[in-house]
């Protein structure tokens, strides 16, 4: 996987941190604001960049270690930029009963990467997930914000093909 890191002095990074600051400021009076802030940051930026931690800590009057501790506790939050799409493969029991483990092996092979990694063309970051609430229609995957059911190897390849060709998912 190749991640492009921009140095903090680059304009793009400065804009990003300005956005983080604005998000944190907008939520500062909300009770229990940290998770809503982290969600808003990840929704907009795609991940929670390292530079966000001191800004959020300052706004909420927390230590950096506390903010970092929260980010690392939750599987949902990412500290590295993902590929253009995030594909999660459900590996929980109901999906296993209809072939999730075979699908998992196929997904890794088809994308040429393991979980928490991104395909070489940067199209897809692959992640495991433990149930998508689609347990009567498995094996299930999540593609960005859409769930796809009854996914066998062929259907997986179709979905990935669309992601690689198209700019955004339109499921």
């Amino acid at each position: 996987m190749t991640a492009v890191h921009s140095s903090p002095t680059q304009p793009a990074a400065r804009d990003t941190l300005a956005r983080v600051q604005a998000i944190a400021d907008a939520h500062r009076d909300l009770p229990g604001a940290l998770l809503p802030i982290l969600h808003a940051v990840q929704n907009e930026i795609g991940h929670v960049p390292d530079g966000a931690v001191p800004l959020i800590a300052q706004v909420l009057n927390l230590s950096r270690a506390e903010v970092h501790g929260v980010i690392s506790f939750y599987h949902h939050f990412r500290t590295e930029a993902p590929g253009r799409h995030v594909v999660q493969v459900c590996r929980a029991e109901a999906c296993q009963s209809v072939g999730a483990m075979a699908l998992e092996a196929h997904a890794k092979k088809a994308l040429g990467c393991d979980y928490h990694q991104t395909s070489a063309d940067n199209a897809v970051t692959l992640e495991p997930v433990y149930c998508l609430g689609n347990c009567a229609c498995g094996p299930s995957i999540r593609v960005d914000d859409e769930i796809v059911g009854r996914v066998d190897a062929a259907r997986f390849d179709d979905v990935i093909g669309e992601l690689r060709d198209g700019p955004r998912s339109t499921t």
Binding site: L35, H76, S97
Partner: protein, 515 residues
């Protein structure tokens, strides 16, 4: 104008409902006919999704599964008049799978437009709240207690008793928290209800707030449910605009506000105290009890925390009365449970039945047997911490006490069916692996023991010193059972031991050598 229903439920969407809806709209335009497409919740017959319904003089007629490519042919056959077609299923209400159910909590799901308050009210919505605002808080709590309702999130604690503790607590602020973390594999009833009838949950929480004197509610929703998030947020906005939420609920002079908060992919945050930590913006580490959340919960204040199904069962209890609800069920398991039929089944879906139904009825009369056509060998009931139930126990009635007596649990009512290709030693290994991945890290038996468990099971599978390692696994399970603060570490041994006891051959031991 003909009204057509195409579900917007996540599972229906996962099978192509969005494309079906678009194809119907396009085909109607092409033919110059006017249709009113309502995006309803799912009826819960997932093998038939996308399930399209057409409103006719004879009632709603169902077609399914309808893919986009089927739409032109359906119009040719007379879809808009409910005419015959290979995909026609007849009147929806007459489909046996639906007809034989006892839908109390799910009475409206799949029938109404989820976001229409008018539709909700036209189908008995907000009757419970109307009654509740005219009653004293104590009388509302008494009705919930008398109904026999027990927590649907897993532990089956009597809901009314919990509410009564919060009612009696003195504080400047109390909270109602809805546990919508629904992390168990094999469950989706919370999601279906939130997507298909969100006002039912909102009404249940409002009744809880009015009853115990809480003015603020939070729905803690798992991040895996983005559609439910949008539906709830919009429903809350509309309920507030219509005076069902806010400073003066239904002119009662009582306030109740509601907000949805998103979890972040941690199974343990379904545990109530971990959830409260998470809502406060912290790591989801489980708290010691006491103090009970009912006395010192969210931000240290008295808090009712209940599962979605528990809260969504309250409106019908306040509408029809405690006795009506209590008359369903058996023993100390009163009312109905929306069972979720999942995994390797032909007819997976949602079946709401009174307690006392058996696994065999659910698996065969409703589920239609396995999807693969092979024998069903094991069913995991009650989520990843629930036992694997062998065929010899398929006739035990689903009842909290009867299940507990066989070291199993009904839990949130999820059933995951496996055919005879399942390897229970691998499933036991997975149970330990899952516990290791999701442990909050507070107790050693859970944090370290689960990783040890994976290693020990690997050695058993590889036939390294098998007898000794089986004994080791059993003692490890005992340590986890006894030395864990919450049910993640404390119940992960259930799937493991049930697999070992009921399916020893999968661990390479013959029946007679089993513990």
């Amino acid at each position: 104008m003909t009204r057509i229903y195409v579900p917007i439920d996540s599972s229906a969407l996962s099978l192509g409902a969005e494309r079906t809806a678009r194809a119907i709209a396009a085909e109607a335009t092409k033919r110059g006919v006017q249709v009113d497409i309502v995006r309803n919740g799912s009826r819960g017959l997932f093998w038939l999704e996308p399930l399209v319904e057409v409103e006719t003089a004879q009632g709603r007629i169902a077609y399914g599964p309808v893919q986009a490519k089927d739409v032109a042919g359906l119009f040719d056959a007379g879809l808009l008049d409910g005419k015959a077609h290979a995909l026609c299923l007849g009147p929806t209400e007459a489909i046996p799978y639906l007809k034989k159910q006892e839908r109390l909590t799910f009475a409206r799901v799949g029938i109404t437009d989820p976001l229409s308050i008018d539709d909700y009210v036209a189908h008995d919505g907000y009757k419970g709240l109307q009654n509740a605002v005219a009653m004293s808080g104590a009388d509302v709590v008494k009705a919930v207690t008398d109904s026999g309702l027990r927590g649907r999130g897993g532990a089956a604690f009597p809901t009314g008793i919990k509410w009564n503790t919060v009612l009696g607590a003195q504080a400047d602020q109390k909270y109602i928290v809805c546990n919508a973390d629904e992390g168990d594999s094999g469950t989706f009833s919370d999601r279906m209800l939130m997507e298909g009838d969100p006002y039912c949950l909102i009404e249940g929480m409002t009744i809880a707030g009015i009853a115990v004197g809480a003015t603020q509610g939070y729905i803690y929703l798992r991040s895996e449910y983005p559609h439910a998030f949008r539906t709830l947020a919009e429903a809350i906005r509309r309920a507030r605009a219509a005076g069902y939420l806010g400073a003066d609920v239904l002119g009662s002079g009582k306030a109740f506000e509601l907000e949805v908060r998103m979890g972040a992919g941690a199974y343990v945050c379904g545990e109530e105290t971990s959830l409260l930590e998470s809502l406060e913006g912290k790591r989801g580490v489980v708290r010691f009890k006491p103090p009970l959340p009912a006395l010192q919960g969210l931000f240290g204040r008295p808090t009712v925390i209940n599962n979605v199904m528990s809260l969504a069962s309250v409106p019908v209890i306040l509408d029809r009365g405690a006795t009506f609800y209590r008359d369903f069920g058996v023993g100390r398991s009163r009312g109905t449970l929306p069972f979720q039929l999942t995994g390797n089944l032909r007819h997976g879906g949602l079946v709401e039945k009174a307690f006392g139904v058996t696994l065999r009825e659910l698996l065969y009369d409703y589920g239609g047997g396995s999807a693969s056509g092979r024998p069903i060998r094991a069913v995991q009931v009650g989520g990843p911490l629930g036992a694997y139930v062998p065929e010899s126990q398929f006739d035990v009635p689903l009842d909290y006490e009867a299940y507990a007596a066989m070291q199993a649990m009904v839990g949130h009512g999820g059933l995951v069916a496996f055919d005879d290709t399942v390897d229970l030693a691998q499933m036991a290994r997975y149970a330990m692996e899952f516990c290791a991945i999701e442990s909050c890290g507070k107790c050693t038996p859970c944090r370290i023991g689960s990783t040890r468990g994976v290693e020990v099971i690997d050695r058993i599978i590889a036939n390294e010193d098998r007898g000794r390692n089986i004994a080791l696994l059993q003692s490890l399970c005992d340590t986890m059972l006894a030395g864990s603060l919450c049910a993640l570490g404390g119940m992960a041994p259930y799937p493991v031991l049930s697999a070992l006891n009921h399916f020893p051959e999968d661990f390479g031991i013959d029946q007679s050598a089993a513990a």
